[in-house]
Amino acid sequence: MSAPESPQTAPRRNGARMAESRRTGERLVALLISGFVLLNFPLLSLLRGGGLVAGVPVLYIYLFLVWVGLAGATALVLRGRPSTPEDAGDEPGAREP
């Protein structure tokens, strides 16, 4: 908290930030779980014998699409997330430049 705030608004805003921060965490964990499920058996076994689409194996296409999707979703969740107070760097003072 850099700017001085009145004692009544500060806790409320902190609360909102913490809720937002927790929500980001929940989204990321959900991404991890869905990614793990999508990129593992038994779902992968559904693609067995999928053959070629446009000359490329379906399995290949599927894995790389999920891959890009995961990276994109992570970027989306973390995009422009405001820095919460606990995000602010607080390195110990006696550090050399």
Partner: protein, 915 residues
């Protein structure tokens, strides 16, 4: 055929270029304009994950398992999704504690234990040995392919094993130059990181170039490649998932160990955590790094298939397709470029890994032992540290070379690497549980790591030696002493898993089980508890004030502390550090004064930057006289602090509630005072009103009494006045009584079906005389037919009479006019009484309905009436479920309106009181 001198020239030229990049990075860092303080450089440096394994080995694995090489890259992609949560916390902790390596991190978490630090170091060195051997094998194999320009002979190593030895020594020199020029390890290796990021770009471009050449040069695009592959049985199976027993588990296990490896391989920890400049860079790396992995893996399968198609039936080493395919296609320079890419991948890994491991060997394995044994000579320890680290680098590379000599020929690249991955995954439980579970204890971590590592040695390392002929093969099959249940690849006859999955299962079961079990049933000591609480609650650390926590209870002098630091970093830097501390805390430090606890803690942290947490603790304790602070006492202080903060939060909340209550009370009090004043006024008004008729009654009665000779007509007139005044008195008293009765609600009202029109007519008739007296016209507008309502007739008549008489009272006699209008809608009846009087000020609109309230009429001097009429009306109307209000502009008359619900849906009067 490329000339040998060209290959050597380009190789060393490239290494020189790397060094130039590193030198530039260091120069920029010294000038304070870091080039690595950038999320993209950070992301590229993380790509040190892609080593010779990725560059050469993935293709080899793809030729046998198709898409099976991918879990190693899917794992990191998955792990990256939660980097923002997990990695950021580790970075935050490491910066706060001046962590120098993964061993330092784990030992710090578990009470700065030297034993844990040493064990982690041991596991790392032994576990990474195969991984370094893999790089040496990759580089020497690629050298040989290029030297002989002959794909068929790639498997042979004609220069003998010496190639690998020369390479190992060259890399050792390089690592020493990159990593051990300074001793302060938390002063990051900016130059090294810059070089690593540069290498990551080179290897990506090189691999993609080969992939593009193979796909579009040797074949007519991916569709052509895959179509040709589909026609050959050997390659067709790579396009699909083959059913193999244990495949589900194997895929899942590889994903899991690569998820842990991306963070907990010593070099990954070094790059991700120790070399991190700004934790916000994680935000970019979390999505960009997976894309890097995707890009470098895009052409693995095409190259593998192309290699199988081109060298069909040949004995070409599949691990070297990346080089042999361009050579086969006559592209010598492209092969050279690919070779440089592979060199980048392998050297990058070796440089970072050896620097990370040498720091660990020095800080967490050797220093604590040396310090305890007190075998270090007095003098500057800094140079000793540097020597230890340089020696460690050479030692590690030679160890890697040794492993390469032992088993190098019998394994493919990826199989060697997986052995190391399983070793690194042993660090995941103590770290992940350690930063989220305060209960994880030192003994638990020790037991878990030891158990996991022992299983790793037994199930992966020993079989690899056995397969290479260094142990009898009967050790693996059927098992030691011929007992199948002891077989290292099928412990307790657990079947259906490949060796890696088998090792992952048993080592994780043992590691996690022991860590959790021992922690649950053991007791933590003070410092462990403190460090555990601090690691789990790092985001709340301002509460605990861990930075200023006085850990030392004994006494020492400032000069002793200075001497200690000076041994590490030299006197000049020491004075600088101490004067900074003095300036920051606004105190004077004299050599002979007793050092306070905060200064001792500060010195310990300063030392930790160089020698790691556990060594720093040993060093500080060596000069402290007296006993260390009882940590139980300290924990109590911490607990009290956090409790006090919680109390103060509660107090704040209470005081806010109190403030609110006080404000409310004040408001109510003011209102009460106002009402009290009104009541006084009302009493005086009533008394006044009562006195007027009383005094006239008394006066006239006295006249009648005294003047007995009064003529009868006069007497009649006077007694008539007395009677009239008495009646007025009675009316007044009645009204006051009425109001109190209505107010107290003790009266019982009739409930009957009524016609509001007839109520209005009755009221009009009752006020007719008053209207005639004041010569005021009263108009009536009533709809055809009855207006049915339910209620008490007399009360409602009283309401209308009150309104009408008010209107008549305020109208100008002679030309005033009053209008009574009754309307009805579907749900309610509405009655309006409009007059042409002086009107009512807007601020009075609400208040005239309050009891005792009277409009001050300055022109007439005293208030008119008792101030109860409208209050009575309001009470009656609201008790009937209706509403009453006034619309008026001053000077234009007033209109009083009330509404009542139509019909009989209302339950009864009195049951729905007004607001």
């Amino acid at each position: 055929m490329l000339p040998h001198w060209l290959i050597l020239l380009v190789s060393f030229g490239y290494l020189g270029l790397l060094f130039a990049v590193a030198y530039y990075g260091d120069k920029r860092a010294d000038a304070g304009r870091s080039i690595i303080s950038n999320p993209y450089v950070y992301t590229f440096s993380i790509a040190v994950y892609c080593t010779g394994w990725t560059f050469y080995g993935s293709v080899g694995r793809a030729t046998s398992q198709g898409i099976g090489f991918l879990p190693i890259y899917l794992g990191p992609t998955l792990a990256a999704t939660v980097w923002w949560l997990v990695l950021r916390k580790i970075i935050r902790l490491s910066k706060a504690n001046h962590i120098t390596s993964i061993a330092d991190f784990i030992s710090s978490r578990y009470g700065k234990s030297s034993v844990i630090g040493g064990l982690v170091t041991l596991i790392s060195v032994v576990g990474i040995m195969p991984y370094i051997a893999l790089q040496l094998k990759a580089i020497s194999a690629s050298f040989n392919v290029l030297f002989h320009d002959n794909a068929q002979r790639a498997g042979e190593i004609s220069l003998g094993h010496d190639t690998a030895l020369y390479i190992a020594l060259t890399l050792a020199v390089f690592s020493i130059l990159f990593g051990t020029r300074h001793i302060d390890v938390t002063e990051r290796h900016e130059g090294m990181v810059a070089a690593i990021a540069f290498e990551s770009i080179v290897k990506l471009v090189a691999f993609t170039a080969v992939g593009a050449f193979v796909t579009f040069g040797l074949f007519a695009g991916p569709a052509d490649l895959f179509r040709q592959a589909a026609r050959v049985a050997e390659t067709a199976r790579l396009l699909d998932l083959e059913w193999q027993p244990g495949q589900y588990a194997s895929w899942g296990a590889l994903t899991f160990i690569s998820m842990t490896a991306i963070m907990f391989l010593p070099r990954q920890f070094q790059i991700l955590v120790v070399e991190n400049v700004n934790e916000d860079h994680v935000r970019t790396a979390a999505w960009l790094f997976p894309l890097y992995l995707l890009a470098i893996n895009l052409f693995v399968l095409p190259i593998a298939i192309a290699g199988l198609l081109v060298f069909r039936g040949g004995a070409a080493d599949a691990d070297m397709f990346v080089l042999t395919l361009p050579l086969q296609g006559g592209q010598g320079l492209l092969a050279l470029f690919a070779f440089i890419g592979g060199l980048s991948a392998a050297t990058g890994m070796v440089i970072v890994e050896t620097i990370a491991l040498s720091t660990m060997i020095c800080n967490d394995l050797l220093m604590p032992v040396f310090l305890r044994l007190k075998i270090l000579r007095p003098g500057n320890l800094g140079t000793t540290l540097l020597k230890i680290r340089r020696g460690s680098i050479i030692f590690i590379l030679l160890l890697g070379y040794l492993y390469f000599r032992l088993i190098g020929e019998s394994y493919a690249l990826v199989s060697i690497g997986l052995v190391s991955f399983v070793a690194a995954s042993q660090f995941a439980p103590p770290i992940l549980l350690g930063i989220y579970w305060k209960g994880a204890s030192r003994l638990g971590a020790l037991a878990g790591l030891t158990g996991g590592f022992a299983i790793w040695v037994y199930t992966l390392l020993l079989p690899s030696l056995a397969r290479s002929g260094w142990l009898p093969m009967t050790f693996v099959e059927p098992g030691p002493l011929g007992v199948a249940a002891l077989g290292p690849e099928h412990l307790l006859n657990l079947a259906g898993f490949d060796p890696v999955t088998h090792a992952v299962f048993w080592s994780m079961l043992c590691n996690i089980g022991l860590l959790v079990g021992v922690s649950l049933f053991g007791r933590q000591k003070g410092l462990e508890q403190l460090q555990g609480a601090m690691f789990v609650d790092v985001y709340r650390k301002r509460v605990a004030g861990s930075e200023e926590t006085p850990l030392w209870h004994g006494t020492t002098r400032v000069s002793d502390l200075k001497g200690l630091v000076a041994r590490m970093v030299g006197p000049e830097r020491t004075n600088q550090v101490f004067s900074e501390y003095a300036a920051q805390h606004r105190i004077e430090l004299h050599d002979e004064t007793q050092a306070n606890e905060s200064l001792v803690a500060f010195v310990e942290r300063e030392l930790a930057r160089t020698v790691g947490a556990s060594s720093a603790r040993v060093m500080v304790s060596s000069i402290i006289e007296g006993e260390a602070l009882s940590i139980e006492g300290l924990m109590k202080i911490l607990d009290e602090t956090s409790q006090a903060i919680e109390y103060s939060h509660k107090l704040e909340q209470k005081s806010r509630e109190l403030e609110d209550a006080t404000r409310e009370l004040k408001r109510t009090n003011a209102r009460l005072k106002e009402l009290d004043g009104m009541k006084d006024e009302f009493v005086s008004t009533v008394s006044h009103e009562l006195r007027t008729p009383l005094s006239s009654i008394r006066a006239f009665s006295e006249i009648l009494q005294d003047d007995v000779d009064m003529d009868p007509q006069q007497r009649q007139r006077l007694s008539g006045i007395v009677v009239q005044e008495t009646e007025r008195l009675t009316r007044l008293v009645d009204q006051v009584l009425d109001f109190t009765k209505i107010e107290s609600g003790s009266n019982l009202w009739a409930e009957e079906r009524l016609d509001l029109a007839s109520v209005a007519d009755e009221a009009l008739a009752a006020t007719g005389q008053l209207a005639r007296n004041r010569s005021i016209q009263v108009a009536r507008e009533v709809p055809e037919g009855p207006v049915p309502i339910t209620g008490d007739r007399d009360r409602l008549v009283q309401v209308v009479i009150n309104l009408l008489s008010n209107a008549l009272k305020y109208c100008e006699p002679g030309n005033g006019r009053v209008l009574l209008r009754l309307t009805r809608s579907l749900t309610e009846a509405r009655l309006e009484v409009t007059d042409t009087g002086p009107g009512i000020q807007p601020e009075e609109h609400e208040r005239i309905f309050e009891k005792f309230h009277q409009i001050r009429n300055t022109a007439r001097g005293k208030p008119q009436g008792t101030g109860l009429g409208l209050a009575i009306c309001k009470t009656i109307v609201e008790n009937h479920g209706g509403r009453i209000w006034v619309e008026s502009d001053p000077g234009c008359g007033a209109r009083f309106i009330f509404t009542l619900p139509i019909g009989n849906e209302r339950e009864g009067p009195g049951s729905s009181p007004g607001p």
